[in-house]
Symmetry: C2
């Protein structure tokens, strides 16, 4: 029995197919390629019960992942992040079935580890020596870490405004890091120019087919952790949108495998008001988005003015009867604070945006009290210290501590 | 069948017993109290196979934990952190069976989450409303988070020099945070004074019996993840030493349960040369340590000049034929960098100290090439940005990227 039931790569736009044994990037028509599997054969060889007995990493779904040989699996122990019920918060806002999947508990502290683990594994399997990518920070840090783990060289280009900790992650894992005084789209242009001249493997979002396979494991885990069914609503902070595309791909594959029923979760794309190209396109019922001018949000990971996979994100929203919501930075920071004080979670601003959006959707009755609602927190707040202002008093060495407290507790 | 097989609290020094249904702190003789279980009865009711089928959190060992009612379990999804093989690093240093358990992948980014999860759960179960603790930062952040999750108030006192991110964690989770211009021992004195006057529950290291029960789950997991046997050597960065005491307690309990054999891992206490009271006591074959003067190390979490449980740490070293090793900060930072570049791991300096110590012990042949060696990384490097100097060049918006690279890759 093979480790992986991958058969070929396919263009979701023009249906052209490609050999996964060769290095592939975009389809000739310009669209991203998706990995396809022999799901009929896979379902005869592996069951949810088999999966349940495996170690709690994303590699428990190895038959539905593209890595063909065990020795190419590059792992730092990623996957099976917890889903925590938010009972107190949910009760307060009329959402008694509210949950959060905490992707901050992955190596490098964000969900980017999933795409990097599978992407770097496949790069290694294909004999790559140097890979390159533009990033808003966290993807670069993740690919740098997994490249070091695999013994590959990583070239990372990120905006100067990207979270500072991600520079340090690139440094300590020995990658070649460059900064640009611009946006991720500027970084992408520089990478695109360089890979044309050097023997580098371009792992920009969706420009190679395997990152999305790592991201889709979020969908597999969500289904497994809820007893092989999806919740009613999944809110996802959308920059490049690969995670949302991945969750939709997981849904399609799991339905074909017969591991979940035919009911679909409504997928919600959450963006910041300062950069909301998907929201605007969804409101106008467009199939693709227009680039967003003068993009800026505190949730830097979703500061993406134009996503290559925008049409796949919009397809996923339309096909699941989902929606797209933009929230202002002020509500993002308020949501982050509420998650901290009410549930003890220190989430990244991108993750907090999903809670801000859920509050709005509950108020407009788009989310109903009977819905099972899942927030996707894509990373640890630890990576965003600048989003929290800490001002603690210093007490004298001989005391006393003020017994009445500071009055900050809720 | 009860959820927990806890029977009583016992003093490891004078054997006095106490009722766990009441709030308890130290024994009348001044020593910390340990939780005891009816292990004979437990072994008839639960097996490793039962455990294997449960969700990957530390609560999979619930029969051997002190929480008696499900509704008091305060969880953010903590536990079952990965153990990653370090093949490249091990081969380079003549340690072909080298592993690292990555406690950075816990809520709040450090192993402190284990003690806080179980400690706060029991505090809730005992009806506590306000708890207080001194901390070098990470424990305070963890107890603040779990207190928020439980709806309790936390009073946290930490040195001004503690990692800045831990202040922000305390802030966003709504705790009462105070700073002192001194060491953790100064913070402890202030907390001690205050709890005498206010109705606060003192959760200082080992002053309540339940934090150690959370920490011991590291030992349970290590055994389970290695197929219910311990590796030959476990290196642990030692500040207060509760994790090491907990691992030793896990060993004793698992042997009594018959879940592991009688072979014992050699436990190694790793400290920094700038604060090494346990190492000095071990070298002098003392049963307790003397306070360390002018303590300072970049590995701030182990900057503990005198630990309340020092005699338990030293007992564990003597009983397992372990040892204690001090390493200078320069070797700690070099070890951190090597783990990053060679294996893609960004560990905290305390965790890096274990690798620095392993190199020394391999050179002195105390660790043999046939030994299975486990490093315990107690936290994420993400919480220590100041330990990494990142200096990346900015490239012009019109490029080009230097194709030859920066020469930083190993």
């Amino acid at each position: 029995m093979p480790r992986s039931f991958m058969t070929h790569l396919e263009c979701p736009k023009c249906s052209e197919t490609y050999d996964p044994g060769q290095i592939q990037h975009l389809c000739r028509c310009g669209a991203p390629l998706l990995v396809r599997y022999d799901l009929e054969r896979a379902r005869r060889h592996v069951t949810p019960d088999d999966v349940a007995r495996r170690a709690p990493t994303l590699w428990r779904y190895r038959e539905l992942l593209p890595v063909q040989h065990d020795e190419n699996e590059v792992s730092l122990g990623e996957g099976m992040t917890p889903i925590v019920p938010l009972s107190r918060l949910g009760a307060r806002h009329g959402l008694p079935q509210l949950y959060l999947k905490d992707e901050g508990l992955l190596p490098t502290g964000t969900f980017k580890a999933r795409g990097a683990a599978v992407g770097v594994s496949r790069a290694k399997e294909l004999g790559i020596e140097t890979l390159a990518l533009p990033t808003n920070g966290n993807a670069g840090a993740a690919w740098a870490a997994y490249s070091a783990r695999a013994g590959l060289r990583a070239v990372v280009v990120m905006p100067q405004l990207a979270p500072e900790i991600t520079r340090k992650e690139c440094d300590i894992t020995g990658s070649d890091l460059y900064l640009v005084d611009g946006l991720i789209t500027d970084a992408a242009r520089l990478v695109g120019q360089a890979v044309g001249q050097a023997d580098w493997y371009d792992v920009s979002t969706l420009k190679e087919p395997y990152r999305i396979e790592g991201k889709k494991t979020m969908g597999y885990e969500i289904a497994e952790q809820f007893g092989w069914e999806f919740p009613d609503v999944i809110l996802y902070p959308t920059g490049g949108g690969v995670g949302l595309i991945g969750i939709k791909k997981a849904l399609d594959e799991l339905q074909q495998l017969g591991w979940v029923g035919q009911r679909r979760p409504r997928l919600v794309s959450v963006q910041a008001e300062g950069c909301a190209p998907i929201v605007r396109a969804w409101q106008d019922r467009q199939r693709v988005s227009d680039p967003w001018d003068a993009a800026y949000t505190v949730a830097f990971g979703i500061n993406v003015p134009k996503a290559l996979g925008d049409f796949l994100v919009l397809d996923a929203l339309y096909q699941t009867e989902g929606c797209a919501v933009a929230v202002p930075d002020s509500e993002i920071l308020a949501a982050q604070a509420e998650l901290g004080r009410s549930e003890g979670l220190f989430v990244c601003p991108e993750g907090a945006a999903t809670w801000a959006a859920a509050i709005r959707l509950a108020q407009s009755h788009w989310i109903r009290p009977t819905d099972k609602v899942l927030l996707l927190n894509t990373g640890a707040g630890l990576k965003y210290p600048e989003t929290v202002a800490a001002s603690a008093p210093t007490v004298p060495l001989d005391g006393p501590l003020p017994l009445a407290g500071r009055g900050t507790h809720h």
